[in-house]
Symmetry: D3
Subunit: 117 residues, 6 copies
């Protein structure tokens, strides 16, 4: 049975494929930029993933948070570093970010479980 993490990624992939198949150039290029912007540059990948995470958190986009949690996790971000990033999001963005922190921590634990299987 697919895990919650797998389901999220499958839905994401399925709809991304449909979106790209619709042949809208502007959207295609935005998707393309989204990959490029988080590649190693003057800043290392890990820092960029934390930037993506905190931006997603203050803008309160759960899907974006989950995406960056997964790439952050894969790039060696520790739970403490993730929580510290989220603490800045909660301070700057206010207590309305707390419900997203709850879901973020829940998703992080799923990523940890997935990884130890």
């Amino acid at each position: 049975m697919p895990s919650k993490v797998q389901k999220f990624n499958e839905y994401r992939q399925k709809m991304n494929d449909k979106i790209l198949a619709s042949d809208n150039k502007v959207i295609k290029r935005i998707f393309n930029l989204d990959t490029n912007a988080f590649k190693e540059g003057h800043l290392p990948v890990k820092t960029k993933e934390l930037l993506g995470l905190v931006a997603s958190a203050v803008l309160r986009c759960d899907d974006c948070i989950q995406y960056h949690l997964e790439t952050a996790y894969k790039n060696g971000v520790s739970k403490e570093e993730m929580m510290e990033t989220m603490s800045i999001a909660n301070l700057v963005g206010g207590t309305i970010v707390i419900p997203h922190l709850r879901k973020a921590l829940e998703y992080w634990e799923l990523l940890e479980e997935e990884n130890t299987l």
Copy 2:
């Protein structure tokens, strides 16, 4: 069995009825305005629906997006025009709009299916 589109509309209708029954004049008038604002005026209905769609998309309100997708669909908006509208939302509002684009395209396909039955 009611479709996802029907369920959305039934819940929406049920709660709107309760809201209007609560007899709050300000809310009643806002609901009323919501109907009037999208009627034919200096701009045609179709353009207004696209304006409602792009505003809902950048403000990331899935229920509002679905409502305007349905009225846009009924007013003859094509899939290409809908995607072009959403591409402007994604550019102006950023990649945080992408998860809403995924749901919007999914809902559009449901509207197409519904219509061909």
Copy 3:
């Protein structure tokens, strides 16, 4: 079987415990402030709960709305006062607040049912 209100509170409590266990001082203090800010001060608790509700509503945070609906309900806020508060949220924050008003009224009815059992 736990009610929807109970389930919401249990998930909330479970994740809050995990968040506090993660030992991030900044987050701990924000949680602490969240309790203090709504205590009796120059303004009575009831007014503060309505302030929390309208802020949550215009920022469109369903979990925050539900939390403040419950504390408002427990502090004797009437349905009319709640709806009047939400009407200001709908006017100031626009029709994108309406979907949150639907959920708020639904949750309020659950709180009323819970209470009459």
Copy 4:
């Protein structure tokens, strides 16, 4: 010489007159609602003004904050009550509300000066 408060109100009035002269019914009704929503109802005017203030603050609209500061001031809201309302805005909406708190306190002092002349 007109004070900063007078200038703000004069510009506001001048542009409101022009907006209403443009004869757009939807906008006219929104302006009308804006007056009605803050009238005495199930909640007293003072509470409503604080609701308008906190909503304006978390949505970070300086002009809206100034408008509600003035009506709050005229309805007998004390500085302590205003600050308590703003403290909830800062907690719920985050530290990005702080620059608006600075301007709000500055405007409040202008209102106090204006009043003692």
Copy 5:
């Protein structure tokens, strides 16, 4: 003496040049997309400009509003069509959009003056 419209455009151009000179590829491509997205496509330029205007208005970005007002004006949008677009922004985005409507109408009048000279 340069008009307010000219000053806005000069500052905008000067800083855009500096931004593009900084040689950040992601930003360069976003600027590029911004030009492409509003070109004639399945939707005419005029409709796209109104979409850009309403998106900018509900997101309350004065500079973005002014930019789209100018391109809308140049593409033959009438004052009535502009106001109808802004009325949808005010309804969907709430009364916090009103201060931006004031500035928008003021800027529109400047564009009209500029044009009759």
Copy 6:
């Protein structure tokens, strides 16, 4: 004559002093947290400043951006790193962030000038 950077800091300091003098505990603690959250922790100060910058940028708070630009500058962030951080803000938050990028680059140049005097 005080520079633009000095003026910004003086106004900020003057109003912060007044805010703290108003003796609202919740606000005092938020100000206190704001200092603590950006101290060296699991993440280095420099990374935290970039997190504060990107969060401020997507939430479009010019004063917050300027504050983090200054602390980032003092902590050795290079112009290229700052621009890369802002590029992520522009991608995630959309083109409505561009006007804030213009002001950010302008302020960065002022910081550079200030420093070479």
